[in-house]
């Protein structure tokens, strides 16, 4: 039986075409979502303007015109992001989780969506890593570095325990020197 072999250039071109169409479709879906979000936010903005009028009885308010602010994302009550990370790592123990999968979990849990990779990266760096760093500083979780230097290196996070480290055990096993009496 002779094996049919497609010309490699043809194969690549077809594949690439399909991939580009796939990416355009993803962009079209994301644009739809963003347009819908934009329309919703326009409505909220109009309502906030109307309420501002009510609160100031039509007088000038302290900040006019109102500038734009790149505000922090909301997580409900104060400390919710850290609490979610705490519970996630505690449930995963003794497994350690990497920053990327923690970011995905946070985004899914709080319903955050990102229009670009850069937005996701900013969220990971500004919010998730910040919260993980605070938990590590407080001793609630451990920061582990896995792999060698370079692209393969990953930061892992694990639920902290009160178990001693290998170095601490080694120190504790050394015989203590008792001073002799005079």
């Amino acid at each position: 039986m002779t094996q049919q072999k497609t010309d490699s250039a043809l194969k690549w071109t077809l594949n690439e075409l399909a991939a580009i169409k796939g990416e355009r479709e993803r962009i079209a879906i994301e644009l739809c979502r963003l347009e819908s979000r934009q329309a919703h936010l326009r409505g909220v903005e109009n309502s906030l303007m109307a309420v501002l009028q009510t609160l100031t009885s039509g007088e000038r308010h302290p900040v006019e015109p109102v500038p734009t602010v790149k505000a922090h994302r909301r997580y409900g009550e104060r400390g919710q992001l850290r609490q979610f990370l705490r519970l996630t790592l505690r449930d995963a123990y003794p497994r350690a989780l990497d920053t990327c999968s923690l970011t995905d979990s946070v985004a899914q849990h709080f319903g955050h969506e990102f229009a670009t990779k850069q937005q996701r990266k900013d969220f990971q760096d500004d919010s998730v890593l910040n919260a993980l760093g605070r938990l590590a500083k407080a001793g609630e979780i451990e920061r582990l570095v896995h792999g060698l230097k370079g692209a393969g290196r990953a930061t892992l996070w694990r639920w902290g325990t009160s178990l001693p480290t290998l170095d601490e055990l080694h120190e504790a096993s050394k015989p203590s020197v008792i001073g002799r009496g005079a």
Binding site: V44, P62, P67, A71
Partner: protein, 127 residues
């Protein structure tokens, strides 16, 4: 000058104030609906037909404005906390403001109509 921040602190005081505005809108709307439907016999009117065309126009315009303000407040309260249902907020009488000095229902009604008419004239003033 007031500074704007990236944090979106929500306080109970703010929620109280917004909820009060909703309750005032509910209160005034209940009063207006009573007037326009003629059910509010305590207001000293015989029936809804007791209003002149101009008075009715002013009251209906006021009703539209109150509903618009109420809906904006609903959106803002849900923005504050999506778990809250602003429609469940009751009503208060403090919507009367300076009109509360009119203890008599009939005099309150006259003063209220005068206020609504003044608002209508103010909103349809020269561009």
């Amino acid at each position: 000058m007031m500074g704007l921040t990236m944090t979106r602190t929500r306080t109970q005081t703010t929620l109280n104030k917004l909820a009060l505005k909703v309750a005032e809108a509910h209160g005034e709307l209940a009063y207006l609906d009573g007037l326009l439907s003629g059910e509010n016999a305590a207001a000293g009117q015989a029936s809804a037909e007791a209003f002149s065309e101009a008075e009715r126009g002013a009251l209906e315009q006021r009703r539209t404005a109150i509903i618009s303000a109420r809906n904006a407040l609903y959106v803002v309260i849900r923005q504050f906390d999506p778990d809250l249902d602003p429609a469940q907020i009751g009503s208060v009488a403090s919507w009367k403001g300076t009109l509360k000095r009119f203890r008599n229902a009939k005099s309150l009604l006259r003063a209220y109509i005068a206020q609504c008419s003044a608002l209508q004239r103010g909103s349809s003033g020269p561009p």
